[in-house]
Symmetry: C2
Subunit: 409 residues, 2 copies
């Protein structure tokens, strides 16, 4: 008998019909001889409606009360899923985050899990019941309801899997797992059967938003293998796990694309200690998400610093730079919009040389100019013109042998 | 400094604008120098939507899960009211029933309050905060969310008032308190400034559904005076309290009317022990609400038993009577629909004689026939034809001096 934690997102439980479908899947998992904990999100749309209600009574709703409000979304779903399972002849019991012993700090709306006392959950499982657990929420030491912020339900599932030492954690979503690239961009993209935590993290930070990095990091830290799969069909998904030697035979696991970026370049930055730090501190204070950073010596004693920001944060970035560039005595700030970031990710590149060269060659052959280059141990990222982004993704996807053969496509 | 418990029903918090209005009232009460606990219901319509959701996933939703579902209604309101107060510069904190220490038995969907540990509520009040408490809900010893059934939010307010020894409990609703009769029937009806628990109970059981009897009984048991008043204006309401000698100067406090009744008569019931018991047991098992019961000797050794039931339960009553009348060997069952029940209620009738005579006279003078009569120490009830009900109510209201003078009307 295996102990499985499943997680169903808001789309999977978005209507009462879908809830019945999810209930059936959960019950089938139990009837196959497993103990099952199912973590569920708020029905899609519900959270936004609650946020609208809050906005109607307050410009700046108290975070503590926001959590009380938002937590009703998942509480509604756990009750409905449990009822649906009971209706089908199963025995399910619902748990709010607090009831399940998920204790967090008091950082309302973005609380961090500190500890899980899963005793009552385990008792119910041992009594033959299915546990339906509200995702995204916990309780603080003060007994207040807290929520975990973005991607919170995934985190609940992975943390609960770690707490009960589950044999498997399944993250059900509306896609068939993680793909080698976005199939809307690269029609020959394939599902990745297995991926390491680190690759998944690099993919997530490069635009493949199947899951928030936070949950993957948590899974990595506690060694919880998990599977990302579709709640609407029975297709196999993607297993995310510790890396093992076999994984290195694939050089590049996937390619990801992030659009709507802007490139900012600061010319003639005096090459004195503290210049770069002053720049990025000013951007941080303005809440600008800086991504790729590249620095080059431009002329004796001066550097050229380039970085990317999301296009809709460009104005904020330019604003933040005004006073700091004056203060450090640098040259003018240039910016370029219509930029895309293309990343190739794979732990295999650690043991294979020439990967960067292969990628740059392929782009050059296709006549695509590279603007910036940034690399990590398992990722090569370039920025290119957004107009050439799709073509670039297809070219890189093909050159690393990721294209599906005709029979697979 | 007084400690006040206020209760706002579903209509009073039915929209975000009304929530802001309620927030303002609560904050004003505090700014007048009081400590305030406000009990709020689910926004009107929300509970029905939740019930519809449950019905969509299950024919017979688990009661335990129904409570988890329904409790989200009040939880949403406490968050919104707290946010609205905080937005206005106040300091409010929300409490679910469980957080407020309202412990109940495990009779899900109709739980009974067993105990309230109001320590954390008191701490917040002493810290200068306003406590916004979810009505209608509590927590069982097993840590499960429970709900209190119909009128549960009133009960929460009165029970919390008893627990914290509040100076006053205010039940805000959509009417200006309790009236001498339904103003739609008797245009000269007036608001009753003060009424005893017992009178209120008799009014409630006779069709004046301002509050459920259960909450009034609880208030009586624990000696909690409370005021029923309107949340939409600042009019004075009705104070419900222990009776005191002054109250007896008014003979009849109010008149109430209950329509859509049916009268059932069983002829020739053998006058043997157990006959009546067999009849009413059978009706009880069929969940028929039997009201006025009148028994007369019809002929030597036989009785005629009459009683009223809500018209929509007549078929069930007739059905339940079939086998029992056969078994006890009684005569045929007759029934009459289109019946109304008119009651005159007042503790003053205990010390005034001739009250029944005055009422019957007035009805006779108006040419209205009385079908059945039933009395308690503080109530005289008659059944009459529904067609004459409005006229009968006006006549009785007038004869006991309840009509407003022209200047009051």
């Amino acid at each position: 008998m295996a102990l499985i934690v499943q997680k169903y997102g808001g789309t999977s439980v978005g209507t009462t019909d879908r809830i019945k479908n999810v209930a059936k899947r959960i019950l089938e998992s139990q009837r196959q001889g497993n103990q099952v904990i199912a973590v569920v999100s708020a029905m899609s749309g519900v959270t936004n409606k609650l946020i609208d209600l809050a906005a109607a009574v307050s410009d700046k709703p108290t975070r503590r009360e926001m959590d009380v409000l938002l937590a009703t979304g998942e509480q509604t779903t756990i009750a409905l899923v449990s009822m649906a399972i009971n209706q089908m002849g199963g025995r399910a019991v619902s748990f709010t985050g607090g009831q399940a012993g998920i204790r967090t700090n008091s950082a309302h709306t973005q609380a961090r899990i500190q500890d899980i006392d899963a005793e009552s959950v385990k008792e119910r499982l041992d009594g033959g019941e299915i546990v339906i657990l509200a995702g995204f929420q916990g309780v603080s030491d003060a007994g207040r309801i807290t929520t975990l912020g973005r991607g919170g339900s995934d985190l609940t599932a992975i943390a609960m899997a770690a707490a009960v030492k589950a044999d498997l954690c399944q993250i059900f979503t509306d896609v068939d797992g993680v793909y080698t690239c976005d199939p809307r961009v690269v029609p020959k993209a394939r599902r990745i059967p297995e991926i390491s935590y680190d690759e998944m993290l690099e993919m997530a930070s490069s635009g493949s938003k199947v899951m928030q990095s936070r949950s993957v990091e948590f899974a990595k830290k506690f060694g919880v293998p998990f599977e990302v799969r579709c709640s609407m069909n029975n297709n196999p998904g993607t297993l995310v796990t510790e890396e093992h030697p076999n994984m290195e035979s694939v050089v590049i696991r996937g390619v990801s694309l992030e659009r709507n970026q802007a490139k900012v370049t600061i010319l003639d930055v005096p090459d004195t200690p503290g210049s770069a730090s002053a720049i990025f501190q000013a951007l941080g204070e303005a809440d600008v998400n800086v991504d790729m950073i590249v620095q080059n010596v431009s002329k004796e004693g001066f550097a050229k610093i380039s970085f990317t920001v999301p296009e809709d944060q460009l104005a904020a970035a330019q604003n933040a730079l005004k006073s700091v560039t004056e203060r450090i005595g640098s040259g003018p700030v240039e910016s370029l919009t219509g930029v895309a970031k293309l990343s190739a990710v794979g732990i295999g590149m650690r043991s294979h040389s020439g990967v960067a060269g292969t990628m740059f060659d392929a782009l050059a052959t296709a006549g695509i100019s590279i603007q910036m280059i940034s690399t990590s141990e398992i990722k090569i990222a370039v920025t290119i013109s957004e107009a050439e982004a799709d073509e670039a993704a297809r070219v890189v996807h093909a050159v690393f042998g990721l294209d599906a053969s005709p029979s697979e496509a």
